[in-house]
């Protein structure tokens, strides 16, 4: 009872959740796609958990009780406003959602506006952006809401003209009668809101009636972006007296400030308004960011030890290797292919660093930030400030990239702490060095793989992955814990997450993929675009090439033969055909082909690489095909494939973090080598396959694992090596920035 009073909200959620996961197992049984095909000659594998029930299914169930809380308004000028309970970070969901509204409301796309919705606890779980779940979870509810709005317009006109609704239709933001009379939505908006109306025909359109969904549409926010009018968090002028704030940070990960040694010296610097010790460092408030930055350089602080002091990448890899769960099939006796892989940590490094505006007062607070989990942010920030949750207003701001980074609210929490400490509103920004060294990352991982061959077939495929703990405490982790009815900590839900995501798409006999995340290496982590799949599936695709080579088979034909699902074969065939698989390549050049299946979608990549200089490889051509179930905006899907290709180039070939003595050495893009234009292919073709299902699959994370696999395979073929360490070219080719 005491617990219930202490945490009403939390207990309430748990109860609901129990109901959620206990009752509807119906979606679990629905098998995706066409099912396992007659498995050619390969030894069939049983379905992996994610084939039956994946993260998107889980999240969809979690959203079910509140799925109809769609905030859609038709304003008095007839324009529609959708306050989206997901966050735009560049993945194009505001455009896709505007298309859903335009489709069902019969309104031009230019008249649909999609701002972000403030944190709204009434949504419970239904305000999380991640896991490529956005369109899967809002597709039906938004269409339903817009269909209802349209039906209300029709009902209002029917009432006004006193004719049957059946004699009315809608187009271009108007209700049109059989007799030619028209009424704009603007003229009907007030009457349509009358609760007394009883609209009929509120069923969303069937796919055959679609005129917007499935047609390419440019981004609705593009004009604002190219004119500099789109306002990111620190561009907002919502609290005019909020001053620039930076945080001076420790010399090692998660060190904590103990004492400022030169308080008076820093306070006397031009433009400095105040300094304050907060949990993660020393906050500096100044008239401009430039002046706060100067003060940051001068500050001298005593710090406590961090969580990985003295440890470097090599030490961490050794610990991970030692903690790896043993393989089941013995080596040495059978015909096996063994491989070990190491993937270095990598920063999310969104171009807009962590940032937030906070205005904390005695009895209320207001926050603006890019937040993928705003309700969670609101809960913990309120707790930190000692305020009731509803006294903290949290505004979600469209942001400059995320890649998983904004699942957490590190900037917003610091801004709240700083504003409270200063008693003034702040605009808090992380510098790039802060972001790369103290921001979250994809933790390093060690992989051990053994494929067993028997009678010319793959009899078993085992993959063990050991990765530093991935922080899932942003909310969805709690769902999984509840699902398992166990408080077994991060390990349990990390493994559960893993099982709901990673899927070997081949008939490789007995397939076991086991994740272990040791608790004793504490880094700042968060899921990074495609979470485990980039590494697990990327490495797997490389092993697939190796198996094919051992069996004397062509890499494309081998994949084709061993694939579980026919619709995946279609994307593979598409890239092989369009990318001219197997054509003769110059010396030092090669093709690589790989695929990925997740999020109820699939894609294939065929890339061509010039690795004449193995230390400076260049991916110069890419052919990509994606089957995303029901494509909503082909242009947006194409953009995500191109973007995933670039992430594949970066993370496979050059971008990563060297943790050295408890801190990443990298502090900017000149040091962690994310791809630039010169690293990007000059020739890219993307094919979005026609609809293969009624509902959309996930898109955002889909391309990365296939890109990693195809690039690694191409590099291997071009150089005659089997890369085992990623990124492949990973020297410290710079002088690290000083820490103090």
């Amino acid at each position: 009872m005491a617990e219930e009073t202490r945490d009403q909200a939390g207990i309430g959620r748990r109860r609901l959740l129990t109901y959620l996961v206990a009752a509807p197992t119906l979606t679990v049984a629905a098998r995706w796609g066409l099912g396992a095909e007659a498995a050619h000659a390969a030894i069939p594998s049983s379905p992996r958990p994610s084939e039956l029930y994946d993260v998107g299914d889980l999240y969809k169930q979690a959203c079910e009780p509140t799925k109809n809380l769609v905030l859609l308004e038709v304003a008095q000028d007839g324009d529609a406003w959708l306050w989206l309970h997901r966050m735009e970070v560049g993945q194009g969901i505001t455009t896709a959602c505007a298309m859903l509204v335009a489709e069902e409301l019969d309104l031009p796309l230019s008249r649909v506006h999609v701002p972000m919705r403030d944190a709204d606890p009434a949504l419970l779980y239904n305000q999380l952006t991640g896991g490529s779940t956005a369109m899967r979870t809002v597709y039906d509810p938004i269409r339903q809401a817009a269909a209802e709005a349209r039906a209300r317009m029709v009902a209002a006109a029917a009432h006004q003209w006193d004719i049957a609704a059946e004699q009315l239709s809608t187009r271009d933001g108007m209700v049109v009668a059989d007799d030619g009379r028209t009424a704009t939505y603007a003229s009907l908006a007030v009457a349509a809101a009358d609760p007394g109306l009883s609209p009929t025909g509120v069923t969303p359109k069937s796919a055959a009636e679609f005129r917007v969904i499935g047609k390419p549409a440019g981004r609705i926010d593009a004009r604002k972006m190219v004119t500099g009018q789109l306002e990111y968090t620190l561009d907002l002028n919502v609290v005019p007296d909020a001053k620039p704030c930076l945080v001076h940070r420790p010399p090692t990960i998660q060190g904590r400030p103990l004492r400022v040694r030169n308080d008076a010296e820093v306070r006397a610097m031009p433009g400095v308004i105040d300094i304050a010790v907060i949990k993660t460092g020393v906050a500096i408030l100044a008239e401009t960011f430039g002046q706060a930055w100067d003060a940051k350089k001068v500050l001298r602080v005593d710090w406590s030890a961090g969580t990985v002091d003295g440890l470097s990448n090599e030490d961490i890899f050794a610990k991970l290797e030692a903690a790896t769960v043993p393989l089941a099939v013995p080596g040495g006796l059978l015909d096996t292919i063994d491989a070990e892989f190491r993937f270095a940590p990598v920063s999310h490094a969104p171009l807009e660093t962590n940032s937030a505006i906070a205005d904390v007062r005695r009895d209320h607070a207001e926050i603006w930030s890019g937040l993928q989990t705003p309700i969670f942010a609101q809960q913990v920030i309120a707790e930190e400030l000692g305020l009731p949750q509803d006294a903290v207003k949290v505004h979600v701001v469209q942001s400059g990239g995320a890649f998983g980074r904004r699942l957490f609210h590190d900037g917003a929490m610091e801004a709240a702490r700083a504003s409270k400490a200063f008693g003034k509103p702040v605009k808090l920004m992380w510098t790039r060095v802060d972001d790369m060294r103290h921001g979250r990352m994809r933790g390093p991982s060690f992989h051990r793989v053994r494929a067993t061959l028997a009678a010319g077939q793959v009899a078993s495929y085992e993959h063990r992955i050991t990765q530093t703990k991935t922080d899932f405490s942003h909310g969805l982790g709690e769902l999984i814990t509840a699902k398992l009815s166990a408080g077994a900590g991060n390990y349990t839900y990390a493994q559960s997450f893993f099982n709901m995501m990673v899927e070997c798409p081949y008939n490789f006999g007995v397939v076991t993929e086991v994740l272990h995340e040791p608790e004793d290496i504490i880094l700042n982590t968060a899921a990074w675009r495609s979470v485990y799949s980039a590494m697990v599936r990327g490495a797997e695709e490389l092993v697939v090439d190796q198996i094919a080579a051992r069996l004397g088979k062509d890499a494309y034909k081998f994949r084709r033969e061993y694939l579980k699902h026919e619709n995946v074969r279609a994307v593979l065939d598409k890239v092989a055909l369009e990318g001219r698989w197997g054509r003769t390549m110059p010396r030092g050049h090669a093709q690589g082909i790989a695929l990925h299946v997740e999020h109820r979608s699939s894609c294939a990549f065929l890339v061509e690489i010039d690795a004449t200089d193995p230390r400076r490889p260049r991916v110069y051509r890419a052919t990509i095909a994606a089957d995303v179930g029901r494509p909503i905006n082909p242009l947006g899907i194409e953009a995500q494939m191109i973007s995933g290709l670039t992430d594949g180039i970066s993370s496979t070939l050059r971008a990563g973090l060297h943790i050295r003595d408890g801190l990443p050495l990298e502090g900017s893009y000149s040091q962690s080598h994310f791809a630039r234009q010169k690293d990007s292919p000059r020739d890219v073709k993307v094919f979005v396959m026609p609809p293969s299902r009624e509902e959309p699959g996930g898109v955002g994370e889909l391309p990365v694992p296939a890109a990693v696999g195809a690039i690694a395979c191409a590099y291997a073929r071009a150089t005659g090596t089997w890369p085992r360490h990623f990124p492949i070219n990973f020297e410290v080719d710079f002088d690290p920035f000083p820490t103090d």
């Binding site: 789109l230 969104p350 890649f403």
Partner: protein
């Protein structure tokens, strides 16, 4: 504190600022001109790319004193009223932007390139080092080529 006068997007402007304050903070924090973005502060990501007397420059490493009596153009000053610059229009036509954060700088860099070189090769385009973390490079490349064609047509 010294005073500096310069023209920003066609408007004569005077600010009080320390001589070494980076122009990025003058624009953003003092003048509320937020099109130029912060991404690194050391002229690596180039998200702040703008023009000084018609040439690309990076306000994050340019002291305000160096801008005195000069013409500064930011992304906000590129279009002629409602009429977009051909490079901006190409960006729309090619649907370049994802998160959009780097795009003001990318566009200003592209405008500068096309001024110097109206018919850039792929290699010329690859000399642009602006980081796009979303990885829209292929569409940026296509947009620059389109803009070159559009500008040539006049």
């Amino acid at each position: 504190m010294p005073t500096y006068t310069f023209t920003v997007n066609g408007k004569k402007t005077t600010v009080d600022a320390p001589a070494d304050l980076a122009m990025l903070w003058v624009l953003r924090d003092k003048l509320g001109i937020t099109g130029p973005k912060f991404g690194c502060g050391i002229n690596v990501c180039k998200a702040c790319t703008s023009h000084l007397n018609g040439k690309a420059f990076n306000p994050c490493v340019t002291p305000v004193s160096e801008c005195a009596d000069k013409n500064v153009t930011t992304i906000e000053g590129l279009a002629e009223g409602d009429e977009l610059h051909p490079v901006q229009q190409a960006w729309l036509d090619q649907d370049v932007a994802e998160c959009g954060y780097c795009q003001p700088g990318q566009i200003m860099a592209a405008v500068d390139l096309l001024k110097r070189n109206p018919n850039p090769s792929d290699a010329d385009i690859e000399a642009i080092e602006n980081v796009c973390r979303c990885g829209t490079y292929f569409r940026i490349r296509e947009a620059i080529k389109q803009a070159a064609r559009d500008l040539a047509r006049g």
